[in-house]
């Protein structure tokens, strides 16, 4: 059923002005919103790195942080001399973990999270284990790669 009543002049003007003002607002807000979204920066395609320190200068029962692309990794030499590497980003809230030679395992200083030498979360708040890396030794060089 068609309404017989015509639109009032005020209503007509209200609509025109309202949609124009809305359009104007969108034309300001859209570029500003797009501007604030950070542009994609190509993620590092690193799949393996050669560490800047040699096996021979790496004491047992110690750990060191290394760069894996843009991310920190942790290299551990156990008391038995075995080499193991994990992502150093704590699975709890993204702090960088460290090796505790007194505890003989990995520890996060931010919220007292503990990980064993296999990267498993054994105490404290971390919900998941640390992702592990592949470690290869070529002569004296240590090569770390993604699993």
């Amino acid at each position: 059923m068609r309404s017989k009543r015509l639109m009032s002049r005020k209503r007509f003007v209200d609509w025109i002005l309202g949609t124009t003002a809305g359009g104007f607002l969108m034309s300001v807000l859209y570029p500003v919103t797009r501007y604030l979204v950070p542009p994609d920066v190509a993620e590092s395609a690193v799949s393996s790195v050669v560490l800047p320190f040699a096996v021979s200068e790496f004491p047992r029962n110690s750990g060191r942080i290394f760069r894996f692309g843009t991310q920190p990794g942790i290299m551990i030499r156990t008391s038995s001399g075995e080499l193991r590497a994990f992502s150093a980003r704590c699975t709890h809230l993204d702090c960088t973990v460290q090796y505790r030679d007194d505890l003989h395992h990995i520890w996060c200083a931010c919220h007292n999270g503990h990980f064993d030498l296999s990267g498993r979360n054994i105490a404290g708040p971390p919900p998941e284990p640390l992702p592990a890396f592949n470690v290869n030794v070529r002569g004296d060089q240590i090569v770390v790669s993604r699993l």
Binding site: P31, V32, R34, Y35, L36, P39
Partner: protein
């Protein structure tokens, strides 16, 4: 039906706010102000336009801070990234750059119109003086902002600009060192200019604008003596909402012009500054410094045994002092009529600025 419900919701929101903020007390204040209507009413729009342009500069400036890195290693690259990678980065930067130019231009128009319409007469002396301070602040913002992209042009313009005050006997070399943050224009200068550009000068500007607008509100709009003499300026319109509506139309037009300028002539970046490269041919400052820059070229090395540069700097310092103290220098002519000397001075100065700016842009800079 829905319209009524809508209006009811708006009324309740108004009442809620009014109870807590006291909005209804402000209404009579806004309605009390009236704007005289006469043949020079057009010039009353300049002040409001400047408020809008300043707000636009603050908004786009804050957006630029999201990507800008204030260091000699990172500044140029961060703007390259902004222009090439960030969506609409070119638009925000170009509006900021064009907006700055339009703001300084409008400030000059505002100043000359207020001057020629004699709006600085008692009791509006302080309004005029805060306005002169605002003009200097706007030029300072232009000068400090010019360096921030850390490109070749900005680097040499800043070297020249900070060298000029060094000719002042006694404090000159200290001022140069202070502005540069050392002997030369380096990354230390950049962080200094950055601090001035994004916090010190805008902060002072907000304070002075507040004072300036408060005084305008207190005294109301000045009716020029020429209009008063003809018996005009008796009719007026209400500032709110009648004049504000016209202001808004002006603001929207200014934004449209700026967006068009940004789209058709985006701000350039040029070459990265290299302190060990020769100054490029045709080095020039922003257009509003051009008349001073060009004047300094004409001063001989020595004038009456004094360094020519110093004479030039003192002359411009004298001009600035005359500008600030204008309300006290113009005592008015005989029988209450304006003294024509001051009008002649203003037109002469305007002509001088236009001619020197024109020459600065057209004269062959290799001769």
């Amino acid at each position: 039906m829905t319209e009524q419900r809508h209006a009811g919701a708006m009324r309740r929101l108004w009442q809620w706010l009014d109870y807590r903020v006291g909005l209804s007390e402000l209404l009579p204040l806004a309605r009390k102000k009236r704007v005289p209507i006469h043949r020079h009413t057009f010039w009353y729009y300049m002040g409001g336009m400047l408020v809008f342009l300043f707000m636009l500069q603050v908004a786009t400036g804050v957006l630029l801070l999201f990507y800008y890195r204030p260091s000699s290693e990172g500044a140029f690259e961060s703007i390259q990234f902004l222009m090439a990678e960030v969506e609409f980065g070119w638009l925000i930067r170009s509006i900021h750059a064009w907006g700055a130019n339009l703001m300084v231009f409008t400030a000059f128009v505002h100043m000359f119109s207020v001057y020629l319409l004699k709006a600085y007469r008692a009791p509006r002396e302080l309004t005029w003086m805060t306005g002169a301070g605002l003009l200097f602040l706007a030029m300072g913002l232009g000068f400090t902002g010019y360096l921030l992209p850390w490109n070749e042009l900005a680097f040499f313009a800043t070297r020249v600009g900070t060298e000029i005050p060094a000719v002042i006997p006694g404090v000159g070399p200290f001022i140069r060192e202070f502005l540069r943050g050392g002997d030369d224009v380096t990354g230390a200068t950049l962080t200094r200019f950055y601090a001035l550009h994004i916090s010190v000068l805008p902060g002072l500007m907000i304070l002075l604008v507040g004072l300036h607008v408060l005084l305008v509100q207190r005294h109301g709009m000045s009716v020029p003596p020429s209009v008063e003499a003809e018996g005009g300026g008796k009719t007026s319109i209400s500032f709110f909402p009648n004049f504000v509506l016209r202001d808004l139309v002006g603001w929207l037009s200014a934004l449209a012009i700026l967006a068009a300028m940004a789209a058709f002539f985006p701000a350039e970046l040029g070459e990265k500054a290299d302190p060990f490269a020769s100054a490029p041919i045709g080095i020039k400052p922003e257009w509003y410094f051009m008349f001073m820059f060009q004047s300094l070229k004409y001063f001989p090395a020595r004038v009456l045994g004094v360094e020519g540069e110093l004479v030039g700097v003192l002359a411009f310092g004298f001009m600035a002092a005359v500008l600030v103290l204008m309300p006290f220098l113009d005592r008015g002519g005989k029988d209450g009529r304006p003294d024509p000397f001051w009008n002649i001075l203003a037109w002469g100065t305007l002509l001088y600025i236009i001619v020197l700016t024109y020459v600065g842009y057209t004269a062959d800079s290799t001769l």
